[in-house]
């Protein structure tokens, strides 16, 4: 019998790793991810989870130990946030290019400086190019569900890639919500045992991590990119299988009241749920407005995204970090994804919610109104922001 329990997203993620019978956990604590390694340590100490728990001395070592464990065929899980993700930056590229299916939860945290333990998407946006499958969670149920799904997809023999699950720091990691936990039997049906075809084994000696001279590096990178793009099919299959067993079907791009929408509002992560309230209110007043949320971030869901937005006149993108000198990163990518489309909406972007600054319904209301204004009349500001004190007109060029 599946149960409905109250869990923080951190604990939901840990519970998913437990139900997935993970083999090796190698993690370093960092706010706001700490509840994940703590909960997992408890589970191991009490015998609820039979796993090797490696209390490493840094995030760089955390992910490095995961590489070694995955290389011998262990199901591997780790978690981090903000600075921790930065410290393992060189290692994340290696995990994907060496095709180790590690699953990592990232409790999105603002990057220093100044030091901030609070949430935004700057840590996530700093790892766009690492070659991991990446998803953003809106709520604690997704934090649980997508972790299970991540093992299924990453470990698939046609994929063999690491998966990163983004959950908003504090807004999800430390917030208790109802989560429906499935039966262990259902999880076992969904998630086959991990069988790694290239496990390090004295009976079949292989070399992992040979170096790539110029004559071969390009081909290696192309092969990796092809595999990464091809993972989309298994990503979708994984979600179909998930729905078939657990009853909830996930999609790369979530649509909320997008029927006949003239204006679309794009968010990622937990702020989506607050934004939905504003959409409801505006729809109530007769506005043709809808919301889309990017659940699948990498590989970018070009097909679904283009199909969903094609009939809108305006697309307002909300970013939770600044890409210095460039603007909103999601805004830039989304605009680029639509450049060749005919017809395409006018894309505008606003930035807010940095370093733990909360966004209320009023703030989202402003974003949507202001977005509409910019779409019509353009903007004189260097950066369009919400909830950040100080004038932005007359700055820059």
């Amino acid at each position: 019998m599946s149960r409905r329990v109250a869990l923080e997203a951190s604990h939901a993620a840990a519970e998913a790793a437990r139900m997935a019978d993970v083999d090796v956990i190698s993690a370093y604590p960092i706010t706001p991810q700490t509840h994940i390694p703590e909960r997992l340590a408890e589970m191991v100490a009490d015998g609820e989870l039979n796993a090797a728990y490696i209390p490493v001395e840094s995030e760089h070592s955390a992910l490095s130990a995961c590489l070694g464990a995955a290389a011998v065929g262990a199901r591997t899980f780790t978690a981090t946030a903000g600075q921790g993700l930065e410290l393992m930056h060189e290692v994340v590229y290696v995990a994907s290019s060496m095709r180790y299916p590690i699953v990592m939860t990232v409790c999105n945290r603002a990057l220093s400086a100044p030091l901030s333990v609070w949430g935004d998407h700057s840590d996530a946006m700093a790892v766009r190019d690492i070659g991991w499958i990446q998803v953003f969670c809106q709520n604690n149920q997704e934090a649980f569900d997508l972790t299970l799904w991540a093992f299924r997809v990453g470990e698939d023999p046609k994929v063999l890639l690491p998966v990163m699950i983004h959950i908003d720091g504090f807004h999800l990691s430390h917030v208790t919500e109802p989560v429906i936990l499935p039966e262990q039997e259902e999880v076992d049906r969904f998630l086959p045992r991990f069988h790694y075809p290239f496990a390090l084994d004295p009976n079949r000696p292989m070399t992992h991590g040979a170096f790539g001279p110029p004559e071969i590096y390009s081909e290696a990178k192309l092969a990796q990119e092809v595999a990464f793009r091809n993972s989309k099919a298994v990503i979708l299959q994984g979600w179909r299988e998930f729905g078939d067993i657990f009853g909830l079907y996930y999609h790369p791009v979530e649509e909320y009241r997008t029927e006949n929408a003239e204006t679309l509002f794009l968010t990622m992560g937990s702020f989506t749920e607050t934004a939905k309230i504003v959409i409801d209110a505006r729809r109530g007043k007769g506005e043709a407005i809808g919301l889309i949320s990017l659940r699948l971030w990498r590989p970018f869901p070009f097909e679904e995204f283009r199909r969903i937005v094609k009939d809108a006149k305006i697309l307002i993108v909300f970013d939770r970090c600044i890409s210095p000198g460039m603007g909103g990163p999601v805004f830039s990518e989304v605009r680029s994804a639509l450049y060749d489309e005919e017809p395409r909406p006018k894309v505008v972007g606003l930035i807010g919610g940095l370093g733990g600054r909360d966004m209320s319904e009023k703030d989202f209301d402003y974003v949507i109104s202001r977005g509409g204004e910019i779409a019509e009349k353009g903007s004189e500001k260097m950066l369009e922001t919400v909830g950040i004190r100080g004038e932005m007109v007359g700055i820059g060029e």
């Binding site: 060496m98 180790y100 063999l160 079949r204 992992h208 991590g209 004559e215």
Partner: protein
């Protein structure tokens, strides 16, 4: 050899599944001198065999140890440490 491979030929994760596959490389081409063994003097102590960094000296017929010229880089360690002074380094001829 590497420059004939296409991206399709790359193994998952660029893992090399064939052990010792680098052994086709003829490091003997590096040589400027080669070791010459005087079997009359050789006491078959195997010091040259154990001290060859390239494992290029191999047990040969009659209990001797001789350099495999396919691999021998001509470092001269064998000649230097031979207690019987049975190995001499001779310059490779111009080809």
């Amino acid at each position: 050899m590497a420059d004939k491979l296409t991206w399709k030929d790359m193994q998952v994760g660029n893992i090399v599944t064939e052990a010792g596959s680098a052994s086709f490389r003829r490091t003997g081409d590096w040589r400027t001198e080669r070791p010459i063994l005087d079997k009359e003097k050789c006491i078959k102590c195997a010091l040259c065999w154990i001290y060859c960094p390239d494992a290029a000296i191999k047990p040969s017929e009659g209990g001797y140890y001789e350099a495999d010229l396919y691999y021998c880089k001509g470092c001269g360690i064998c000649a230097r440490i031979c207690p019987a002074e049975a190995i001499m380094m001779m310059e490779e001829e111009e080809k």
